[in-house]
Subunit: 451 residues, 2 copies
């Protein structure tokens, strides 16, 4: 029988929630983590292939500048290894497949020049965003009025540059450029260290993988916390608070605490019932923080055959639904794995297909990029995060036009005994595993200061 | 003891839900309406002033072209009376208060010319929107990429015209022009019969009031349905369905039915739990259909003193937080009532004030428009709809950039035994009481065809 009273309840056993709990426990306070699912890890989850290798079906990469998660990985005794990043890249455009091994990304000169000009202007603007308060950006009103797509069309009519930035929006946000404000785009690239870092492999956000899979970070922390501290399969229904305490009612009972940390995607946090009801600003915020739409796919082969062709396994397409791929093979290369992403409109369209037809669509793309060797994977797995009741989309939530300036302050501001965590609440590396860890620690610090 | 099985359960006893129930009952089928509140009427509600007159604190006006609600009013034995619309109007702009009794709205020639030019262009585009499927608009992709504010700034830099259309956005949607896509703006004005009808009093959407208040429409229908058919104070928690039936679990128990109609604002419908979970497209839609922000205020005076000055009580301001007012006095003029609206950013800012300070802000505006006679109301009442747990905003939900084209189909499409109603789901007079009534009937027809 677990205690019916703890110092802190954490709702959500993803990386943010478990990180918060770890911090609270290490301060000598009692903590209970509740999750609706029967596992920890949230948007990180492993899948054991038939050959025994575990691939990551959610967030998977970490980068050198992500110091909080790297330190954590080290503390937990986990190892990282580099993403395979040797050889030529592939870019599909204008009906053809281009192989490149330079900085051109296989794009034509005039496109590259315009991409660089826009990047410079975007990063100049991004540098003006105060990460902890994007609404205080000097030109916030103007930057929040327009969608990123409007900004693009107001600033260029160069075909390749437009296609590139629309692809970039899907690649980074799993959302169309029209589905976020310019201010959100700027905040987000600034939060992660600007565009080259966000899209980079070596030196960038996709540089390193975690042995055994990224979900092991949450699993190891959960093991440290101990079984009694984590209750799985317990969706939370109601959070009640008064001057003396907060009570969390879940599918298996209720727990009373001094403070609660809600570490869910914002759109899910808005679905819980609260007594008293949340302030209008917080509720208004979660009415409009939709999650991205992505289907992550992995195609498994006997061997990473593309490496023999001198290819890195990284492909971009300006015209196919599977727009981005990486080599996701095991560190020893004992089998070949290509990971790819259907994002934004491509994910929404592909989700309507029968599974067999969707698989064909993906394999067609892989064959186009990597040749006939890609035609017959030994295994194919996919994950549609928007269909998952207890996530409802990846990679994360985005802020559409007007939301940062009108509702942004409510993203992190506690509501009496309720504190908010989750990758979406981090000022640094917002939306990434790094942001999740940082948000959990920030929320834990808020709570500890009030116990 | 009520039956535990009916043909149809309706969730939400607003105008849409009760209209649906009436249609179902009149077809000889059994129906149960559940509402979280202790009253019917949803976004229509009356408030009895100290002098005995009941003012409308939610939706209140109907117009001549709103045939469904007018016929319903007639069938229920209710009466309408004209909104007071005699005398000069007031427009505050450029630091001054202008009185006008012509078509100029007190705006300068160059502004009016540009307003007319843009109106003509907007209405030309709006006429291309198929109301039942806005995503099929010829230029849907382009019109859905940009916010209405972006469209405005791309089409004009005339100061008065910009201010006017931003005011119009707040006045019609309780939202900023940046908070909706061009496509949504166009759909909405087409849905109601174009701009002059939407903003008009005589001949427009504000032409008529209902004796006793608009909430009486729902109340009368509820009386007809009988006490056994309506359960109040019963928030719905879970909707479970399988091949044979649907079960609705609420705060007071559960009911099984063949079909359920969810007649809630979309953002609230997305907060219920569903088993099986809703499809990703439906969930993705309700993640991003935020409600407008409005505080409705009524200032009461011994007499409608402005009428003696030859004023209609209608004011517009391009620079004050209380942007729009109307004469809301009883039909016999036995006291004076001015109704006003704080909308969009003005509502969000005013909501942060202490009630006493907010009252002062409102009265300052009324005094500016109508003179010293407005300085000392005998009574002042207000309603902040965004703070209401079981509405969470008015007038209705809006679709931001990208939402109609990406998720629009899921707005009305049933999910097996679950059907959707509410003013937001109507193709004609979307967002108005007329749309609510029509949506209830449409959902009832869907259900009756499947019983």
């Amino acid at each position: 029988m677990r205690a019916s009273h703890v110092d802190v309840v954490v709702v959500g056993a993803g990386l943010a929630g478990v990180s918060a709990a770890r911090q609270i426990a290490s301060a000598g306070r009692s903590v209970r983590v509740l999750d609706a699912r029967d596992r920890v890890g949230g948007r990180t989850v492993g899948h054991a292939l038939m050959n025994g290798f575990t691939v990551e079906m959610g967030g998977q990469w970490v980068g050198r500048t992500q110091t909080a998660v790297l330190t954590l990985i080290d503390e937990l005794g986990l190892q990282t290894y580099p993403t395979y990043d040797t050889g030529a890249g592939i870019t599909a455009r204008d009906g053809t497949v281009i192989r490149y091994d330079d900085e051109t990304l296989g794009l034509p000169e005039e496109g590259l020049t315009e991409i660089a000009r826009l990047q410079s202007e975007l990063e100049r603007l991004a540098a003006t965003v105060p990460l902890a308060s994007p609404w205080a950006t000097p030109e916030a009103g103007e930057l929040d009025r327009h969608t990123f797509d409007s900004w693009l069309t107001m600033h260029t009519d160069e075909r390749i540059a437009l296609a590139f930035y629309r692809l970039l929006s899907r690649g980074i946000f799993s959302a169309e450029a029209s589905e976020m404000s310019v201010l959100h785009f700027l905040f987000y690239i600034a939060s992660g260290g600007m565009i080259d870092v966000l899209i980079g492999t070596t030196g960038g956000a996709q540089e390193l993988r975690i042995e055994g899979g990224s979900h092991r970070i949450s699993e190891r922390m959960a093991e440290e916390l101990g079984e009694a501290a984590i209750e799985l399969g317990k969706p939370v229904h109601v959070i009640m608070q008064d001057e003396g305490a907060v009570t969390v009612v879940h599918a298996g009972g209720q727990i009373t605490a001094q403070r609660v940390i809600v570490a869910l995607p914002p759109t899910l946090s808005g679905r819980l019932r609260y007594a008293p009801p949340l302030p209008a600003m917080r509720d208004g915020l979660t009415q409009q923080l939709p999650m991205g739409t992505v289907i992550k796919v992995q195609a498994v082969y006997e061997a990473p055959f593309w490496r023999n062709d001198g290819l890195s396994g990284q492909a971009l397409s300006l015209e196919d639904p599977l727009e981005i791929t990486f080599d996701n093979s095991p560190p020893d290369g004992s089998c070949g794995v290509l990971v790819g992403f259907l994002e934004g409109v491509h994910a929404r369209e592909a989700a309507r297909l029968q599974p067999e037809r969707r698989r064909e669509l993906v394999i067609e793309c892989l064959r186009k990029y990597f040749g006939p060797g890609a035609a017959n994977p030994t295994e194919y797995v996919e994950r549609d995060w928007a269909a998952e009741e207890f996530t409802r989309g990846c990679y994360g939530a985005r802020l559409g036009a007007g939301v940062w300036t009108q509702f942004g302050k409510a993203l992190v501001e506690p509501v009496a005994r309720i504190h908010w965590a989750g990758a979406e609440t981090s000022d640094v590396w917002n939306g990434y595993m790094e942001g999740a860890v940082r948000s959990g620690r920030r929320a834990a610090a808020e709570v500890l200061a009030n116990l």
